[in-house]
Symmetry: C2
Subunit: 198 residues, 2 copies
DNA sequence: CCCACATGAGACATTGATGTCTCACGCGGA
DNA sequence: TCCGCGTGAGACATCAATGTCTCATGTGGG
């Protein structure tokens, strides 16, 4: 059945195109469709065959990104175990999709009046719930609101993602840098010696 | 002397226009010049009289933002006193210009091959030096690179700026939320009770 | 070998943003 | 009151991006 092969091929290309587009559009939101196509290694014609237009492309980007991120959230099992560990799992799971997340987080407000994708709200709630759990747990301090911690997590994820793509950070450091900063902060612990990980 | 009054008026309007433009363009980089003008409360004609075109506007935005941020850095006196306090001063000083910073930080890579403004590099170095100082000081932990801490600071500044403009965070919380998270992290200190500030 | 089909390259027409005008209005000072 | 001047509104011309074609090519399967 050639149809199956056809669909598989499309899906693979689609992923690649979307990720390339996200990487480019995050930094240059005014990029031409020619540029987007070239960045993905395809022609504008093919790009246009997969996505009706710029708007459709951005929509697909949004949907795809949310889908991937929600899958990552699910895989991280945020409700299980210590909140700190859950946070670590979360960052690790999201890492492969950080580029998508960066695009969505910065250009999200592109559609003004429209309802911002409910999947986004779901993600916010999941993250907020994690931080709240950690606070009620006693693991996390309570003087930082879950909403801010959620927002801050996005910010750090995005910053780290850019730092990696720009070569200012080693890809291996991604998860550690984010989680260590987020969990422990930059201040050196006075009384807990040898905290620095291997 | 009408000329003086003229210049002053222009300068004031210019500030306002630039800040409005930054606030809009950060979230919707594809916004029309009509939209930019409307957001600033002026007509497209007047906008065009002040800035030759979109490109000129973005350039001016860049220059203005860097200028303001560097002034903030200077005012924060990063070399004086404990690095933690310097960091607090820095965030407090930058707060009024967080919108500008958000724009610059997200759309900076707009000019590809071109030399990204050297003022930007200067800011990076200043911030990096602060973190390095804190590390050599013993105040800060050494397992997070100054480059990452710099990038992370930008990310938190931007996230907080957006959270405030979107109404998800009280403006008063801006400095405290950022500095507390950056310095202390989200994890609750085990052995230092009563750390929560008033 | 032949065919189906996705792709790349390109030629248009169209749309929308932009750059450049002109002109009338309102406000301030002389 | 009259004038200078900045402004807003709008009318274009221009140009770049986009949407829509066609056609040649290459490849993979039958």
């Amino acid at each position: 059945m050639s149809h199956v092969g056809y669909c598989r091929l499309m899906a693979v290309d689609r992923d690649h195109v979307l990720r390339s587009a996200a990487a480019l559009l995050t930094r240059k939101a005014t990029a031409t469709l020619d540029e987007v196509a070239k960045a993905a290694g395809i022609s504008r014609a093919t790009l246009h065959r997969q996505f009706a237009g710029r708007d459709a492309l951005v929509r697909a980007l949004e949907e795809y990104g949310i889908q991937e991120c929600e899958a990552a959230l699910r895989a991280a099992r945020l409700e299980e175990g210590p909140a700190s560990d859950a946070l670590r799992r979360l960052v690790a799971e999201i890492e492969p999709h950080a580029g998508l997340l960066a695009f969505l987080h910065t250009e999200n407000q592109l559609f003004e009046g429209e309802d911002l994708n409910e999947g986004w709200t779901r993600m916010d709630e999941r993250l907020g719930a994690l931080f709240r759990r950690g606070q009620e747990n006693g693991e996390f301090r309570i003087d930082l609101t879950p909403a801010w911690l959620t927002e801050a997590s996005y910010g750090l994820l995005v910053s780290a993602s850019w730092a990696v793509t720009d070569g200012r950070m080693a890809p291996n450091d991604f998860t550690r840098m984010i989680t260590e900063l987020l969990l422990g902060g930059v201040r050196r612990p006075h009384d807990a010696p040898g905290r620095t990980p291997a």
